[in-house]
């Protein structure tokens, strides 16, 4: 069984014990065949030192729990191939959010912004017996939007979200806002656009596309934000 040693530099902070965060150097033996993803190695690291804390759940890029800053770029540990990583692998919590412990951040602000865009279908007409149908073309509009797993990789790589997390909705929230604006079954399009037409909520986005660069699902929040702006222009001129 072929093994090799991997070097890690991991952000550690336990507010009950540490006065300040520090970077811990750790090395670990990895199996060249079975250890493929960063999460596999984190599991081994956790077995070696059980004080190391991080979130994880599905281990296949669906739940969005194990988002972290990997060698300076946000991503999901479970989708990151270890063979692509430069060593020592530097692991930090997602930037811009308060650290609870080690790689775990407080996502309250992120979800507050997500909830602010009313992430549910608004339709006051009586529901039909089975379901509200869409044409395949209308349904097509939701592709590239509904896949968001709310891992927060995008919003926490966005400087506008770092500076104004309390006022700027952020790329994840705006992508989801457009998901409902684009939905032909939703009747609150105007109210949604009114809510977003704001110097802080929407227009803090300066289209630098950090969000697109990091999205582990390959989504494009900048494009969705552009489409929201386009709809506002069409409505106004």
């Amino acid at each position: 069984m072929a093994t090799s040693t991997m070097q890690f530099k991991i952000y550690r902070y336990d507010p009950d014990k540490d006065n300040a965060p520090y970077m811990q150097d750790i090395s670990i033996e990895v199996d060249d065949v079975t250890d493929r993803k960063l999460l596999d190695v984190l599991t081994k690291l956790k077995a070696k030192d059980d004080t190391l804390s991080y979130r994880r759940s599905c281990r296949e890029g669906i739940c969005g729990s194990d988002a972290m800053n990997i060698n300076g770029k946000n991503g999901l540990a479970c989708l990151t191939e270890i063979k692509d990583l430069k060593q020592p692998v530097v692991l930090r919590p997602l930037p811009g959010l308060p650290v609870i412990r080690d790689l775990i951040v407080d996502m309250t602000q992120f979800f507050k912004q997500y909830h602010s865009i009313k992430p549910y279908l608004i339709n006051d007409t009586p529901p039909p017996e089975r379901e509200r149908l869409q044409s395949p073309e209308d349904r097509e509009e939701l592709n590239g939007l509904y896949e968001c797993i709310l891992c927060a990789c995008c919003s926490t790589s966005c400087p506008s979200f770092w500076w104004n997390p309390d006022k700027f909705v952020g790329p994840a929230g705006l992508l989801n806002a457009y998901r409902f604006i684009a939905d032909t079954r939703d009747q609150a399009t105007n109210e949604r656009l009114d809510d977003l037409e704001d110097p802080y909520r929407l227009f803090r986005c300066h289209s630098i596309m950090n969000c697109v660069d990091v999205c582990p699902k390959g989504l494009n929040p900048t494009e969705a934000i552009g489409k929201i702006k386009e709809m506002m222009v069409r409505r106004a001129v």
């Binding site: 704001d198 909520r201 227009f203």
Partner: protein
């Protein structure tokens, strides 16, 4: 009450469009200026003056400066909004920006029409 986060001023689209429109005007003016300077290649003060004594060039140059100042206003306000947290200080900086840009606009008129 004082610490409640208030957001929802309900503007921004007009400025976002204006930012793009003014950029376009500035790009067109840059082309006109480059073509004019290339065609006439003024080598003396008088030749240079003659270009800007032309009514069309005065109009376009003035339009360029107005576009530039409006563009700068939107950009500077963005910077203050991004980085300056105390509301009072931000308001002061925004007022100072407007004051400077209005002053520059008057100055541009004075230079262009030799008032």
């Amino acid at each position: 009450m004082l610490n409640r986060i208030v957001v929802g001023a309900g503007y921004g689209l007009k400025d976002w469009i204006a930012q793009r429109a003014t950029a376009l005007i500035m790009a067109v003016y840059t082309l006109i200026l480059l073509v004019t300077l290339g065609a006439l290649s003024p080598s003396s003060y008088e030749a240079w003056r003659a270009i800007f004594a032309n009514g069309f060039m005065q109009f376009m140059t003035f339009l360029f400066f107005i576009s530039l100042f409006y563009h700068v206003w939107i950009g500077m306000r963005d910077i203050w909004m991004d980085y300056v947290k105390p509301d009072g200080l931000r308001l002061m900086l925004e007022i100072a920006t407007i004051a400077a840009l209005v002053g520059y606009a008057g100055w541009a008129v004075k230079i262009l029409w030799r008032l």
